[in-house]
Symmetry: C2
Subunit: 337 residues, 2 copies
């Protein structure tokens, strides 16, 4: 049986939510990943040291016995001072910037991208070496939102050349192209955006469990994403953006945005890299090494062996329907050590 | 109170379905429209004279006491002979061509658009003066399917210059542009495609009740559709494509395509034309006169008066959720005589 061993897999964009949902999903990521960057868009969002400490503890309890490190993020606000950021520096890996209202629980986000408005906080982050993670969408037409945001990425990257800016869950060729133009722009890519296009969401029947923000784009965009992921491009990291919602919030009149991939992300990634004949080294870079370099983190080692044998995706985890629910995928998780 | 009276409103693209669904939806259209062109994509599709006679009778019973004429269509097959078409001529207003598998109940449709394959049937239709209604989508990327199909429209229009070809439920500026290039190309436009774009379907929460085929497109496309509809372009007719599905088939893992507008189509149309300051004459052309000219039909007169007073859209009709369920729209149906 063909096997592939990943060294210290990292999920650099993860939603663990809170309360019951946290209990359901945290163990699933903790089982197969060594560490993850956890998003702060709770209700209310995480904006204080107390919230960071408390959320870290709740995650610790929810993850159970698994060897797993949750790196927390702070919900970006342009009012943060350098003093405050110094205080929380040890509790966070990055700040996450959401345009106001752009996705789940982002109402308190930024509504004005005037560089001068943002300068005090971003300068402080730059001085302290705290990376900025960005959900990069305008409020324009849904298929153009990310491409339209590229000019904002470029302004930020030029204005703060020492600030590491991570374009989160990129979905377009325009974002891929921006990567190589600015030394301080980086990106995460999800497994679902490497696999699907808008055709999978809305080309046949409408598929609420494949609906997410940013929405999956055109075949030409998926091709651009695959090119940089499969080649192990040093500025690109895996970030699942696994975003659980209760089944009732997905299969209803107004379906919430988010694809839940945590329990199958590694299997799907290995399957894709294997099918496409990509180097195993590139997979290792994409799933771990690049993130270590970009964030300067040293996670505790965890070796995860994937086996090429069919895995039947469960129809539901708790009350959350995963991507490919009930379908068979080609790889399974074997030994984790 | 402001009122607008429509003379003999016609819905030139309507799905009445069958059995219980037919009982639910037929009276809703029959109440406010004088006549409608009814689509043949039942299971199995309507392909024989017996099916036509029988479906006509079932509709007659379902519509109740309302003064309303259902014009039936035959499901296009390239094997129909001239003799057969002569036999069913009196029972139909047109043939409806579906690319195989492109939408609800279209599996028996055309999979090969080779003109020579289609020539015998299309020549016979042309000679007998039977119009061809077409669902114009390729099986390409969902946002490009209709634009890609325009070259097929153009081939058909050139090869059969005396055949009236109706581009059904057009959604793109490319289809609008094709209208004026070929004298024998016509179009229907739905009310929902005049009102929404992909942003309304998938830009915020995912809205299954606004999901249809063809999917709603870009703002620039909606603008092109509005331009020809609001100006009363003589080759453009109203066709609701009202396409009911049970609530369970819409709010589930794989949501069926179709927007149910039958009970609110006239109110929404009048509201749009009024808001946009369009001539009432243009509305009359779009809702009735153009279709009479294009199809050469003489429906029994029915005068429908709309009143500018709020109408609360019911949350559900039978088991079908309408567009704008539970919301308030600006116009109501008043006197029908």
């Amino acid at each position: 049986m063909k096997t592939i061993t990943l060294n210290t897999p990292l999920d650099m964009h993860l939603h663990l939510r809170d309360n019951d949902m946290l209990q359901t999903v945290a163990p699933l990521t903790a089982k197969s990943f060594a560490a993850a960057l956890v998003m702060p868009n709770l209700v209310p969002p995480i904006t204080t040291k107390e919230q960071l400490k408390s959320y870290a503890q709740r995650i610790k309890i929810a993850q159970g016995e698994e060897d797993f490190e949750a790196h927390l993020t702070l919900f970006f606000q342009p009012t943060y001072t350098k003093e405050f950021l110094e205080e929380v520096r040890e509790d966070i890996i990055a700040l996450k910037l959401y345009p106001a209202g752009i996705t789940t629980n982002s109402d308190g986000g930024v509504s004005n991208f005037d560089i001068e408005e943002l300068r005090p906080t971003l300068s402080a982050m730059s001085e302290l070496g705290i990376p900025l993670c960005v959900h990069g969408e305008t409020n324009g037409f849904v298929m153009e939102r990310e491409a339209e945001f590229v000019s904002i990425y470029e302004q930020l990257a030029s204005a703060f050349p020492n600030l590491k800016i991570i374009m989160e869950h990129i979905t377009t060729k325009e974002s891929v192209e921006a990567l190589d133009k600015y030394p301080n722009l980086y990106a995460t890519i999800t497994i679902h955006h490497l696999l699907i296009t808008l055709d999978d969401v809305a080309g046949g029947m409408l598929q609420p469990h494949l609906f997410c923000k940013p929405i999956a784009k055109r075949p030409i965009d998926r091709e651009a994403l695959r090119r940089v992921a499969l080649s192990g491009h040093p500025k690109v990291m895996f970030g699942s953006d696994s975003a659980p919602h209760p089944q009732s919030a997905k299969e209803s009149c107004g379906c919430a945005a988010g694809v839940f991939t945590a329990p199958i992300a590694l299997q799907l990634l290995v399957e894709l890299f294997d099918k496409e004949g990509a180097d195993r080294e590139n997979l290792q870079k994409f799933i771990s090494d690049n993130a270590k370099n970009i964030y300067g983190i040293h996670p505790k080692e965890k070796r995860v062996t994937l086996e090429q044998k069919p895995f039947q995706v469960p129809p539901i985890y708790g009350n959350v329907v995963p991507m490919y629910a009930g379908e068979e995928i080609g790889w399974s998780i074997g030994l984790v050590e």
